[in-house]
C-alpha cells in the first residue's frame, strides 16, 4: 500500500488552474500589453467581485452535496428592496444600505433550505422553482421599474480605493474597496470550511449523507447554514453589483447563475458534493475573468463569449470525468494488491 503525503501539490486541481491562468495571462500579455497593467488588473478584480462572492457561496452549497440556482433571484430581490428603502426614505448611510440586503438574502436562503430538507427533491428542481417564484413575483410587483436616485453616500462609496496609484497619464486608479469585500468573504469562507465544526460537517454531509446522519450530524441545521450562507452572500453581492452599476434594474442579475456555477465547477467543486476549496473557487472566477477580458482585448465580438464559455465548461467537465474514470480503474488494482 502506497502512502502518499498530502503535499503532492501537482495532484490538485488548483495547481493546474494556476498553471492555466499563468499561461493564459502570458499569452494575453503578448497579444495586448495593456492586460498586465495594474490598472487593468484592478479593474478586473473590481468587476468580478460580484461573481467572486457568489462563487464562494455556491462553493459551500456544492460541498454539502446541494446546488442553488436561485441565488440570482435572491440577489435581485434583496437588492431591489434595498434600493426602494434607501431611495424612498433617502437614507444617506452606507452601512444601513449594506445592512438591508444581507438579512433578506438569508431569509430567502432559509426558504430554500426548508424546502430542500423537507421535500427531499433534488435541489436543482427546488431552486429552479424558487428562482421563478422570487423573481416572478418581484417583476410582477415592480413591473421591472428601475431605481437610480441614490443618496450621495451610496454614490460615492464605489470610488473609495484601498491602494491608490496615478497612471502615467495622470489619471488616478487603485484597488477598489469592493474588492476588499471579496477578499474578506474569501478569508471568512476559508476559515469556516477549514476551521469550524460546521465547515467540517458540511464536507462530511457532502461526502456521505447517510454516514453523517448515523454519526449524529444534524443534517437539517447543516442545510440551513449552507443555503442561508449562500443567501446572505447573494445579498452582499447584490450590494456590490448595485454599487458598480449605480442603477438597480431587476433584470440585471438573473441569467448570471451559469457563470457562477461554471466558476465553482472549474475551481474543482464537484456536483456530487464533498469536494471543493476556496482557492479553487477564486481561481475559477479569475480564469473566467481573464478569458472574458482576453476576448475583449483581442476584439472578439461579444457573441463569441458564450461559445467559449460553453466549450470551457464542457471541456473542464470532460477532463474531470476522464480523470475519475482513470482513477477508479487504478483503484481496482490497488484494492486487489
Amino acid at each position: 500500500m502506497m502512502r502518499k503525503s498530502r503535499w503532492k501539490i501537482y495532484n490538485q486541481t488548483e495547481f493546474y488552474l494556476f498553471i492555466v491562468l499563468i499561461v493564459l495571462s502570458t499569452i494575453l500579455a503578448f497579444v495586448n500589453p495593456k492586460f498586465l497593467r495594474l490598472e487593468n488588473i484592478f479593474d478586473l478584480l473590481r468587476n468580478y467581485t460580484f461573481l467572486g462572492i457568489l462563487a464562494l457561496g455556491q462553493l459551500v452549497v456544492l460541498i454539502s452535496g446541494g446546488i442553488d440556482v436561485s441565488f440570482t433571484a435572491i440577489a435581485t430581490v434583496s437588492q431591489y428592496i434595498m434600493g426602494v428603502i434607501i431611495s424612498k426614505y433617502y437614507i444617506d448611510n452606507i452601512l444601513v444600505a449594506l445592512a438591508i440586503p444581507i438579512p433578506i438574502g438569508i431569509a430567502l436562503g432559509l426558504v430554500n433550505a426548508l424546502l430542500v430538507y423537507y421535500t427531499r427533491v433534488h435541489p436543482v428542481i427546488i431552486t429552479i422553482s424558487t428562482l421563478n417564484v422570487f423573481y416572478g413575483f418581484l417583476m410582477f410587483i415592480t413591473s421591472g421599474r428601475w431605481i437610480y436616485k441614490f443618496p450621495p453616500s451610496f454614490r460615492n462609496f464605489v470610488q473609495i480605493k484601498i491602494l491608490s496609484f496615478t497612471s502615467a497619464k495622470g489619471t488616478p486608479y487603485g484597488l477598489s474597496i469592493l474588492t476588499l469585500f471579496w477578499i474578506i468573504v474569501a478569508v471568512m469562507t476559508w476559515f469556516i470550511l477549514k476551521h469550524t465544526n460546521i465547515g467540517r460537517k458540511i464536507y462530511a454531509v457532502g461526502g456521505n449523507l447517510e454516514a453523517a446522519r448515523r454519526a449524529g450530524i444534524n443534517i437539517f441545521r447543516t442545510y440551513i447554514f449552507v443555503y442561508c450562507y449562500m443567501g446572505g452572500l447573494a445579498g452582499l453581492a447584490s450590494f456590490v453589483q448595485a454599487q458598480l452599476a449605480q442603477i438597480i434594474q431587476p433584470n440585471a442579475i438573473v441569467g448570471k447563475e451559469l457563470d457562477v456555477l461554471a466558476a465553482a465547477i472549474l475551481g474543482g467543486a464537484s456536483v456530487f458534493g464533498g469536494s471543493g476549496t476556496v482557492p479553487g473557487a477564486i481561481l475559477g472566477v479569475l480564469l473566467i475573468a481573464i478569458i472574458k477580458n482576453g476576448l475583449v482585448l483581442m476584439r472578439i465580438p461579444a457573441y463569441w463569449h458564450q461559445v467559449v464559455m460553453g466549450a470551457i465548461i464542457a471541456g473542464a467537465a470532460s477532463v474531470t470525468a476522464l480523470q475519475m474514470k482513470f482513477k477508479s480503474r487504478r483503484m481496482v488494482r490497488k484494492n486487489v494488491d
Binding site: Y118, I125, Y135, V271, Y303, T320, A321
Partner: protein, 323 residues
Amino acid sequence: MSIKELLNTRMIFKKTQATVLGFILIFLIILMTIMTRGKLLHLSNLQAVAFQLPLLGTLTLAQMIPMITGGIDLSIISTANLSGIIMAFILTKLSGWYTTPLAIVVGVAVSLVVGVLNGILVAYISVPAIIATLGMMIFIRGVALVLTRGYVIAGFPDSFVFIGNGDIFGIPMPFIIFFALILLMLLILNKTRFGFNLYMLGSNITATEFSGVNVKRVLFNTHLLSSLLAGVASIIMISRFNAAQADYGQSYLLLTVLACVLGGVNPAGGYGKVMGVFASIVVLQVVATGFNLLGFSSHLANALWGLILLIVMLINRMISKAE
C-alpha cells in the same frame, strides 16, 4: 393501447402524484373558469390551446427521456433555437419548391449533431448530464448568437408557415404533429427494446449493464432522441412565430421540468409514462391559457408555476410520509 395496458400504465404511474396533480390543476381550471366567467372553456380558447400546446408538449417529451434515465437536458431550448436559426437562413435565403423540405431536413440534422455531442459527453465521457448539457446549452446559444448577432430572422414561405398556423379539417397542424409524436413516443417507450432498457437503466445502470444491455448506447440514443425532439419542436416554434431568434422560449425550460415532474417522472430516474406527461401538459396549457385570459404577465405566470411545483412536491412528501 388496450384497456388492460392502460390499467397497467396506471399501476406503475405514481398514484399519489397523479391525484395531487389532478386535484390542484382541476381546482385551478375551475377557479379560472369562474374568474374568466366561463370564457376559458370557449371553443376559440380551446382551439388556442390546441395551437399552443404542441410546442410545450414536444419540448416536454424531449425533456422526459433524459429524465427517465435520471439525467436532465438543459440544452433543449438552445438546441431548438439553433435549429430554428439554421432553418430560417435556408427559408429566407433560398426560394424554390425544395426550400421547405430542405430547411426541415437540415434543421433536424442540426439538432442531431447537438444530440451526438450531448450523447458523447454523457454516455462515453461520463460527464454528469446536468453539467454536460449546461455547457452545451451555453455553447449552442453562443453559436446561435454568433450566427444571428442577436437579430430576429423573419418572413418564411407560406408552405412553411402552414405547419405552425394551418389546419386540416379544423384540426391545427401543430396538434396533428404533436399527436403523432405522442403515438410515436408511446410506441418507443412501451414497445421497443430501447424503451425497455431506458427504464431499467434509469433505475440501476450497473445491473442493466450486467444483464448484457449496451448502456452507453442507450444513454447516447437518449440524448440523440431528446435533441431530435427539440429539433421537431423548433419546426413547430419558428413556423408558428414566422420568425427565429437565439433567445426564444427560455422560460420553457422550467415548464418542461415542471410538466415532467407533475406527470409522474421521477427526477431520480426509472419512472415516467407518456400518458401521465401528456395529461400534465394538457392541464398545464389550459392553466397557462387561463393565466393569459386573466391578463397575467409572463413573470407572474412563472412565479405561479414555480409555486405550483413547490406545493405539489410538498404535498407528495406529506403523502409519502403519511404512508
